[in-house]
């Protein structure tokens, strides 16, 4: 696959110790704990983790789509600017530059508005692009996601399109405002296997063509590796590993990553994803404050793991949040595969 | 007859008494006292009033007098049409559009007053009179008053201003009827042009009254206006426009009276009377009623066939309780079937006989003894009623309590409010029923007008066959009442006639084919700045609003 080289200089997006608390049954509970990572311009970053680990919440924190009542600490910077304090025209511009693609295209399109209306809405209302110009651009983009009869599609309603088609429309729509960063939250999970592959291919191609940066959220380690330059692995609302994608599978730094890899979810086995790790995944607010969150399920858990929460440390060009990382380096993949 | 003088004297007296009634009855919370004679009119109005909204208990159904058989139509027609003779507010009969003379006992000659005109300016002719009277008996029209003319042989013009009624038999009831609805005159030419539309919302009408018809929107109101070219210059109504409107229920009526949406009403058993009595926005006046609330015995073959049982029930009934419960005190205890207010002629005779009559007071001991004597202990009666009609229901329960208090049994047979009327018109509805309650009245101020429906064997309300062999076990005795009653009808002298009628009253107050319960007063409620309306039941038959106007 053709992958954009990491650009030199400042990162496009930067998360620094982002902690998100939400009101749950009256008290504030953390769903993200000290999340930090960065995406360089044009870079595709994978975000992998079990269900409930906080992937979507991370994307929402970036795009300021958190549920009402959410309390955020830490910092999100986009193009050097603090996203949390944006307002007015700046916020609008930011939202034009960051586009989001959701897991369920059907739920994320207004069923009573035509595709054309849906696609061009942001252009027309925010960028004041005239209707016919916006429609022309939409048809062009539809063509580039493999939808040839764009004119007709624009007149259709979402329910008249298949899921795969609709997700392609979503992708085209996301690209319509010429964003610099794409937040793709499991864009293919809701689709059937063949469609998944098609949509992914389109996404990947376009991204490279337009040298877009992307945060690609998935359960699937292999998929992340296939699409992304680097991958962030999350567990219980915490980042547990950041690593070059191509080394993630063969040389994981964190036992959790290794477990994910061992569960070997392949592109065509979404149905039984990640069932192989024994034990129940923890929510961020269930994670012990003074221990590694993964101890309960970790085959390598030792006393040191239960003494305090390990910090994110550098190892072999990546980052890992494991107290025994050094000690286990190189052994994880072998043992789990045995 | 010097009608003018009489009227003026009556009005003068009535004015003073009316004032008293307003001062005492209208403002104090207590009800009117039953014993004293009530004023028949209220003090004449003095100020012109542009518009008055007058309520009737339901919408007017017809403006054709031959179909006027209930309060709304009577109230309206008596302002629009005039009858050949006229009943005063006190019930006395005098000249109306004509004067009456009897050349012989079987001939009635009506001499039309000169100068009478209809609203359209056409003079009243004998043709109009003959036509109007004959309409009553035209089978194709099916008017409600044909029975009134049962002794009439012919009606014909016998001069340019003279109409003669030839009778098969002397009939001194008919004169009074000619002072009531059946004697009302409409314009022949006009009515013929209207055809079957006459008196309907689609048609127009033509009368001679001091008010003339303006418009009628069903469900909204009948609008009548002062007839400025009224033939009698002595009468000038103060009210320019009167809207006669059905008031849907007590609550709506009350709030409208208090807010001026309605300016007057002749109310009946109004549940909100206490509230209105104490409110400054309205004046409540009591006057003599001509009606009677009674228990109609509809079957003499059952337990009620024995007169002692009827008497016992009458003695056991708590009439005072009913007067308070249903009429809030605005009714009087009866002595006779007929209301004292109906003594329109032979007044001294009636009053004397009435004064001598015993009160119908409760006496349980005597009642129990009568039941024992009659061997009726444990026997059962069935009372037709409707639990949806409050007054009827209260009465039925009171009678049941009375029966049970004297050792009898009583069952209530309840029907819906709408079906209550069936007891009166459908013999099948009366099967298994011993009797039911009614509020009843005749066409004019004369006790015979009500008695005529229940004493004759063919009387329209003689449901139990009272006095009839085969249906009445005591027919031999009871038929005496009818014989005497029939004699009275042919008796020329008013006092002699009154004596006979009084004797009949006395007989049936003992026989009790109907058991009188109470006799409601007229309850006239007007905006407090209005006065002058009749305060007697005469409003049903005679122009009651000629003097209605503003107080001042």
């Amino acid at each position: 696959m053709n992958r954009a080289e990491p650009a030199a200089g400042a990162p496009l997006l930067e998360l620094e110790g982002v902690t998100v608390r939400l009101p749950v049954e009256g008290s504030m509970q953390a769903v993200l704990q000290d999340v930090s990572f960065a995406i360089r311009p044009g870079e595709a970053l994978g975000l992998v983790g079990e269900s409930g680990s906080g992937k979507s919440m991370t994307a929402r924190a970036i795009d300021r789509l958190l549920p009402p009542g959410a309390a955020v600490t830490g910092r999100v910077r986009f193009g050097g600017r603090d996203v949390m304090t944006l307002s007015g025209a700046d916020l609008k511009r930011f939202r034009g530059e960051v586009a989001m693609i959701f897991q369920d295209p059907r739920a994320h399109t207004n069923p009573v508005r035509r595709i054309g209306d849906f696609m061009t809405e942001a252009l027309r209302t925010n960028a004041r692009v005239p209707m016919d110009e916006a429609a022309r651009r939409a048809v062009d983009l539809l063509a580039s996601v493999g939808i040839e009869d764009g004119d007709r599609r624009l007149r259709q309603y979402p329910h008249e399109l298949s899921g795969g088609l609709l997700q392609r429309v979503m992708i085209a729509t996301a690209l319509l405002t010429r964003p610099r960063l794409l937040l793709a939250d499991e864009p293919t999970t809701a689709l059937d296997v063949t469609t998944q592959a098609e949509v992914l291919a389109i996404l990947d191609n376009l991204r490279s063509e337009l040298s877009l940066a992307m945060l690609f959220i998935t359960h699937n380690l292999e998929l992340a590796a296939a699409i992304c330059d680097r991958t962030v692995v999350m567990y219980a609302g915490q980042v547990v590993e950041v690593r070059e994608s191509n080394r993630l599978h063969d040389q994981p730094l964190h036992p959790y990553t290794a477990a994910l890899a061992a569960a070997r979810p392949s592109i065509d086995a979404t149905a039984h994803r990640l069932t192989a790790i024994p034990g129940r995944p923890l929510s961020a607010f269930e994670a012990p404050a003074e221990a590694c969150a993964f101890t309960a399920r970790c085959p390598y858990a030792a006393d040191v793991c239960r003494e305090r929460r390990p910090a994110l440390v550098e190892l072999d060009g990546g980052l890992t949040r494991c107290a025994r990382a050094r000690e286990l380096f190189g052994r994880l993949e072998v043992e789990l595969h045995a | 007859m010097n009608r003018k003088l009489t009227t003026h004297r009556v009005m003068a007296v009535a004015g003073v008494v009316g004032l008293l009634a307003t001062a005492c009855g209208g403002r104090t919370a207590g009800g009117p006292s039953g014993g004293q004679q009530q004023a028949v009119t209220t003090k004449a109005g003095t100020k012109p009033v542009d518009k008055v909204v007058w309520a009737v208990y339901r919408d007017v159904n017809s403006l054709d007098p031959i179909f006027a058989f209930d309060y709304p139509e009577n109230t309206t027609d008596s302002l629009l049409y005039e009858s050949l003779l006229r009943q005063g507010a006190d019930g006395s009969l005098g000249p109306g559009l004509a004067t009456l003379s009897y050349p012989d006992q079987s001939t009635m000659v009506f001499t039309l007053k000169p100068g009478v005109t209809f609203w359209d300016g056409n003079p009243l002719t004998t043709d109009d009179v003959v036509y109007s009277l004959n309409r009553n008996t035209d089978p194709a029209l099916a008017g409600f008053y044909s029975a009134v003319f049962s002794r009439v042989q012919s009606i014909a013009a016998t001069g340019t201003n003279e109409v003669t009624i030839k009778l098969k038999q002397p009939d001194y009831w008919l004169a009074s009827e000619m002072g009531s609805i059946p004697g009302m005159i409409i314009e022949k030419k006009f009515a013929q042009a209207q055809g079957s539309n006459y008196g309907t919302p689609a048609g127009k009408i033509m009368g001679t009254g001091a008010f003339k018809f303006e418009s009628w929107k069903p469900g909204v109101a009948v609008v009548i206006v002062r007839n400025d070219s009224y033939w009698n210059p002595a009468v000038k109504p103060l009210v320019r426009e009167m809207d006669i409107k059905g008031a849907p229920n007590d609550a709506s009526l009350t709030s409208a009276l208090l807010t001026g949406g309605i300016n007057g009403v002749y109310a009946q058993a109004l549940t909100t009377l206490d509230q209105l009595k104490t409110n400054k926005a309205v004046t409540v006046t009591y006057g003599p009623g001509w009606y009677t609330d009674a228990f109609i015995v509809s079957d003499l073959k059952g337990a009620l066939g024995d007169v002692r049982v009827r008497q016992a029930l009458s003695l056991a009934l708590d009439r005072k309780g009913l007067i308070d419960a249903i009429y809030k005190g605005t009714a009087t205890l009866p002595k006779w079937i007929s209301n004292r207010g109906t003594f329109g002629y032979g007044k001294s005779v009636f009053e004397a006989a009435y004064a001598a009559a015993p009160d119908m007071t409760q006496n349980l001991a005597k009642a129990k003894q009568l039941i024992i004597d009659a061997g009726a202990t444990g026997k059962s009666i069935t009372i037709g009623m409707s639990s949806e009609l409050t007054g009827i229901s209260i009465e039925a329960n009171a009678l049941k309590a009375a029966a049970e208090a004297i050792g009898m049994k009583a069952t209530l047979h309840s029907v819906s409010a709408q079906n209550f009327i069936n007891f009166f018109i459908d013999p099948k509805a009366r099967v298994g029923i011993d009797g039911f309650f009614t509020l009843n009245y005749g066409d004019y101020a004369g006790p015979e007008s009500l008695l005529a429906t229940l004493i004759p064997p063919d009387g329209s309300q003689n449901f139990d066959g009272y006095g009839v062999q085969g249906t009445d076990p005591q027919a031999a005795n009871d038929s005496k009442a009818f014989t005497l009653f029939d004699e009275a009808r042919s008796t020329a002298d008013p006092n002699a006639r009154a004596q006979k009628v009084a004797d009949v009253e006395k007989m049936i107050a003992t026989d009790l084919p109907w058991i009188p319960v109470l006799q409601p007063l007229i309850v006239l409620i007007t905006s407090s700045n209005l006065t002058g309306a009749y305060a007697s039941f005469a409003y049903m038959f005679a122009p009651w609003a000629d003097k209605l106007g503003g107080t001042g």
Binding site: F102, N110, Y157 | N61, D70, A147, P218, A251, S255, F424
Partner: protein
């Protein structure tokens, strides 16, 4: 276009057939019900006194009341087919004329109420749907009480407060001229609207809350659509579907409830007239009004269906009824 048009045509033809069947069945059932209720429409003319038997018989024969039920119904039906709805026994006038003169009152009342329901009910629902806090809480409490308030109770309360105490509005009758009629219809319209208004407000509030939570609204937020546009294009527009449905059904039901209000306020409307005619067994009038109400109800439902299909592209015409 062709197939869609024929689908629409089929929908309307089917609804028309349903209407005709409903009318026929309703006319028979109502006729039978009124017939079976013992009583006599002519006797109702006398208000409780006994009418002379002769007049009674003549009038009974005139209105075929002496005929067997099925013959009477046939007379009515065959006349109705020729556009003749018969004669009111009570008023001796054409039923169609009598009905026509009262349509405007009921239509005005229902229209006035509908406006109140839609403007106030939907308005209140939208406000409390978007704004939490005192307004929302008080709306919730007030609507909870008034939703279960029978129209006649509301009427009595309104009369007491606004007619008797404050004397702002009249409590009886129709009035003359436009302004006066509106004044006269104000309290009735509010009385009629109160409970429906509360229901519509609650449904609207719930619909707004529900639609505002939808994921596609998030999409719009993420695309930076301004709040006003967002509310208008994605929340209100979508909430309009359930709101329209409930409003349509509510307004259709007003026609039935109007009778109560008309009676209390002494309005010359169809509902009060229906009640009055049923009480006096004025058969032709009861039939005429009932059929008009059935027709109106069916037509209102068709309208709601059409509107529903127009508002929601996922719904095709007639699918609500299926």
């Amino acid at each position: 276009m062709g197939p869609a048009e024929s689908v629409h045509l089929r929908f309307f033809v089917r609804r028309l057939a349903m209407l005709l069947v409903s009318l026929l069945v309703a006319s028979f059932v109502i006729f039978a019900a009124i017939y079976l209720a013992p009583g006599n429409p002519i006797a109702a003319l006398s208000g409780g006194r006994s009418l002379p038997p002769d007049s009674l018989h003549v009038l009974e024969a005139r209105y075929h009341l002496d005929q067997p039920f099925i013959v009477q119904y046939w007379y009515w039906l065959s006349n109705a087919f020729h556009g003749n709805l018969g004669i009111s026994i009570t008023l001796r006038e054409n039923v169609s004329d009598l009905i026509a003169s009262r349509i405007s009152t009921t239509a005005g009342l229902v229209l006035y109420s509908s406006i109140l329901i839609i403007v106030i009910g939907v308005g209140l629902g939208i406000l409390s749907g978007f704004k939490r806090g005192l307004l929302d809480t008080s709306t919730l409490v007030i609507t909870a009480i008034s939703a279960s308030l029978p129209a006649f109770v509301a009427a009595i309360v309104l009369i007491l407060v606004f007619a008797v105490q404050l004397q702002w509005f009249p409590s009886l009758g129709n009035g003359v001229g436009f302004i006066d009629q509106v004044r006269h219809l104000t309290l009735p319209a509010f009385a009629l609207a109160v409970s429906s208004l509360a229901i519509v407000a609650r449904v609207t509030r719930a619909a707004i809350r529900e639609e505002a939570r939808r994921e596609h609204v998030q999409t719009a937020v993420s695309r930076g659509i301004p709040t006003a546009e967002l509310i208008r294009r994605h929340v209100l527009r979508n909430a309009a579907i359930p709101i329209t449905t409930i409003s349509g059904i509510t307004v259709a039901s007003l026609i039935a409830v109007a009778a109560v209000v008309e009676v209390v306020f002494g309005l010359a409307g169809l509902g009060a007239y229906l009640v009055q005619s049923a009480q006096s067994k004025d058969l032709a009038v009861v039939q005429g009004i009932s059929l008009l109400l059935v027709t109106t109800f069916v037509v209102m439902n068709v309208l709601v269906d059409v509107l529903y299909a127009v508002l929601d592209p996922r719904v095709s015409l007639g699918s609500r009824a299926q």
